[in-house]
Point group: C2
Chain length 135, copies 2
């Protein structure tokens, strides 16, 4: 077990992606009008990409268009004060290719929020890092 | 109940701060070497400020020094697909005033992560927004 300077266990990329796949909710971190912004989203991992479904006119769709974002997932247990967090940093893009859209529309990715959400954002997790807090 | 264009309930500032106070874990969103960064932290609300305890040499302490950050807290129920999220945007500063440090050291804020953490970061929640997802 490899620890960082803060005493947290450093997770491998493989462990990070496995943990990220275990949670349906993550948080996309982006810049909105020069200010830091963060928004929880439900997502799925597909062929190594983080896939999010939203509306084409959402603040998220506008901001996460061909830019670098961070994506975070975590799980903490309040009783035991243990948990993990994983952050992926990479390029986000809105999907416009009809064939790719067709493939993504078959994913088991049902938006939690109401309304029609036929815009897909994909993030390639270029830098992946994670930590686990154990007792 | 006021809904946004995505069909989510818009929370008042008062509701947001009450919900934020109900969770011990939040995520601080900042910029680290020109890239978006996010880190879960345990925190407490004190006199209207978000208070975080860390080490003086941490990446977070370095990055969240007199800058604007976002701070997010949320809670989601995977079964019912409901939940809430709150984001506060505001100035973050490292605390250096001895009297303020003395006051903050008396807070019931025990770091979850191991090690000596005697550096305090405070965020003033200048812009507070929140959404609730109901069925």
């Amino acid at each position: 077990m490899k620890l960082d300077s803060a005493g947290l266990e450093i997770l491998t990329r493989e462990e990070c992606l496995k943990l990220l796949a275990s949670t349906p909710i993550g948080r996309i971190v982006f810049t909105d009008r020069a200010l830091p912004a963060v928004q929880p989203v439900n997502f799925c991992l597909h062929e190594g990409l983080i896939v999010i479904r939203t509306t084409a006119t959402s603040r998220l769709a506008m901001a996460a268009r061909n830019t670098i974002v961070a994506f975070e997932g975590d799980h903490f247990d309040i009783e035991t004060r243990t948990g993990w967090s994983v952050t992926a940093v990479g390029h986000a893009r809105g999907v416009t290719d009809p064939e790719e859209l067709e493939r993504l529309s078959k994913l088991p990715l049902i938006p939690w929020a109401p309304g029609v959400r036929e815009h897909y954002i994909v993030i390639s997790p270029e830098q992946v890092s994670g930590r686990r807090l154990v007792r």
